[in-house]
């Protein structure tokens, strides 16, 4: 470590200690300070680690958590960044506070925001990139799917020797050549033929001849065993395949990957993809099935990802929603519930949520109409937009109530006729609701 990065590291560590001791903060400011002193500080901080990077629109956080859990079974020390610290400063902070092993193998599994990937790979050299998916997401911030994809491909090309492990079921991942070698994971079950994706789905054009893609099998959105009806373009050969789903509920799933059975304690098809992605990383490192099984058995809940909160006896499942594909998958997961439930939908439009709320019109909320939900509460700053969307989706107006304050939402939750409640909320609405729940003593601080 050179003098400059040494000073930067010390300053960063000191500010981290200071912030932790005297305030509750500390997740990104120390990184900012260290970067200010030495823009190359990451390079020296990360040099003794084998680095795996997880990026993509949906599923980053849970995939990272599952991957960490599996790799912990195999390696001496596994570092990861906490939720929300997935941009450059947060990553520097993560390395600053880590205590690596002097002997043995240090691994870092980093969740990195799509737009930050290129900045991060300027300074550190990952061995493996995991691309979960690219869907339309907060387009006022990220732009279009092709732009986002170019960002992450360019980001990976700065570590040309690294392999990109990608979702083979997503056509965009096969649309351009990459400098990096590619490996694919995907689903191989229930073959049909000649299916097309729902009309309001992105990325369904053949990149070669511009015909609408068809599918032998669709899992969700535009994911599946795709082929072009007009030319040779089709899904690449999979390196890791999921061949069977044995059980899938709203709270857990059991499935088979490369002849081995696994289980996860989180519901829905989209989380099976996250587990498959984490398993594919493990297989890349030749980790045994037993270790993978133990790693996937993880059941701590991650921020806003199906955590269950008890509010005066009401079991509330809190789910973060931020884009149409994610919301559609949450609705599909709710459909698997065997218990009757009420629904709370909280829509905010702050910068972190995306200031454009039109995406709610791109999701298939119509699916809710068939579920016979006795009470639906719409809330958040944009409750009026949400209410109209729900009515148009077929929610009966007499079952719909609308409220502005989050405090009032909690009061209304206590009155619903069901024991189970799904709360779907955008990012700042999750934060606001959690804050209110902490104040009222329903959850503890810190998660």
């Amino acid at each position: 470590m050179g003098l400059r990065s040494g000073v930067a590291t010390t300053a960063g560590k000191f500010s981290q200690w200071f912030l932790k001791t005297f305030t509750k903060g500390g997740s990104s400011l120390p990184g900012k300070i260290a970067l200010k002193i030495d823009p190359n500080v990451l390079d020296s901080l990360a040099k003794d680690y084998e680095i795996v990077v997880v990026t993509g629109t949906n599923g980053k956080t849970l995939t990272t958590a599952l991957t960490v859990n599996i790799l912990k079974e195999e390696f001496d020390h596994v570092l990861t960044n906490t939720t929300g610290a997935n941009m450059v400063q947060g990553i520097v902070s993560t390395f600053l506070q880590d205590k690596k092993k002097k002997n043995g193998k240090n691994v870092a599994v980093l969740e990195i925001d799509e737009a930050s990937l290129s900045k991060v790979t300027t300074f550190l050299t990952p061995e493996l990139f995991l691309f979960t998916n690219i869907f339309r997401d907060q387009m006022d911030r990220y732009g279009e799917i092709y732009t986002t994809y170019k960002l992450i491909v360019d980001g990976a090309s700065k570590a040309p020797k690294a392999t990109i492990l990608m979702n083979g079921d997503l056509p965009i991942f096969n649309s351009v050549n990459t400098i990096n070698k590619r490996e694919y994971y995907g689903f191989d079950y229930e073959q049909g033929h000649n299916l097309t994706a729902h009309y309001n789905t992105d990325g369904v054009l053949c990149p070669h001849c511009h015909h609408i893609l068809r599918y032998n099998m669709i899992t969700y959105s535009n994911l599946g065993d795709y082929y072009c009806p007009n030319c040779e373009f089709k899904r690449p050969k999979l390196d890791v395949s999921l061949t069977n789903i044995k059980a899938m509920t709203n709270i857990s799933s059991a499935f088979t990957i490369d002849q081995e059975d696994y289980k996860i304690e989180v519901g829905g098809m989209y989380n099976i993809y996250n587990a498959l992605a984490a398993t594919a990383v493990a297989k890349h490192y030749n980790i045994s099935s037993d270790k993978i099984r133990r790693g996937l058995a993880y059941d701590e809940k991650v921020f806003g990802r199906q955590e269950v909160i008890n509010i005066d006896g009401k079991k509330c499942t809190l789910v973060l929603v931020k884009n149409p594909v994610g919301l559609n998958q949450v609705i599909e997961t709710m459909k698997l519930s065997t218990d009757p439930f009420s629904l709370v939908a909280l829509l905010n439009a702050n910068y972190a949520d995306g200031i454009d709320v039109s995406w709610i019109w791109d999701s298939q909320l119509e699916e809710l109409a068939s579920l016979d939900i006795p009470t639906t509460i719409s809330g958040g700053e944009r409750h009026a937009d949400m209410s109209l969307r729900l009515k148009v989706a077929g929610i009966k107006p007499e079952t719909l109530s609308e409220t502005t304050s989050l405090q009032h939402v909690i009061e209304e939750i206590k009155q619903v006729p069901t024991e189970h409640i799904y709360i779907l909320a955008t990012y700042t609405a999750v934060l606001g609701l959690r804050k209110e729940l902490i104040q009222q003593g329903f959850i503890k601080e810190g998660m």
Binding site: D202, L205, H211, I212, V357, W361, K391, V392
Partner: protein, 230 residues
Amino acid sequence: MEQYNITICHLYGNLLNTYGDNGNLLLIEYYAKQLGINVQTEIVSVFEPFASDKFDFVFFGGGQDYEQTICSKDIQHKKEDLITYINQDGPMLAICGGFQLLGEYYIGANGEKIEGIKALPHYTLSQDNNRFIGDTEIYNEEFDETYYGFENHNGMTFLGEGEKPLGIVVKGFGNNGKDKTEGVIFKNVIGSYFHGPLLAKNKQLALRIINIIMNKKYNKTFTMSDLKNV
């Protein structure tokens, strides 16, 4: 209640569907149902012909740059039929990219000139590293109606001869950020840069569009009081 039937063409519905444009169709269906109108929707996409006499309404949304470029090539094969439909007073709602493609041309993301179908005389330039994003409000003097929406576009559209704006900008940028116009009215075509919530926030405009369709086909118009739930 009397029953009516209308057939809607969702032009490139599986490709041009960005920013919740589809919400406009969902809202038309929602209100139509309350008025006893059965709606059938058909997507006409790439490599498929558009039949000018088959539809009572055409909805034409906007898309991502890539999809829009592909559609701009394909639409040249549908050009004559679409012009026939528009000249026969066919009702249409065109949002963002759809609005641009009805005109002379627009400038794409990489600065290239992309031909429209020239059914309407407007043209669209692009801005360097800037988008018009935010809540917006316009006023239509002829109808004495105010419309609210959200815009997010790079294009600057300039209206031509025979085109009236959908409204005059009260708040926001509108067609080009310069002349205070927003959207277009040309025969029975309405165009706008407002997306998704265009009809969500503007039920009078939704009813106006339904009345254009119903007036032409059944010589029938509805009033706001005919709607049970708004």
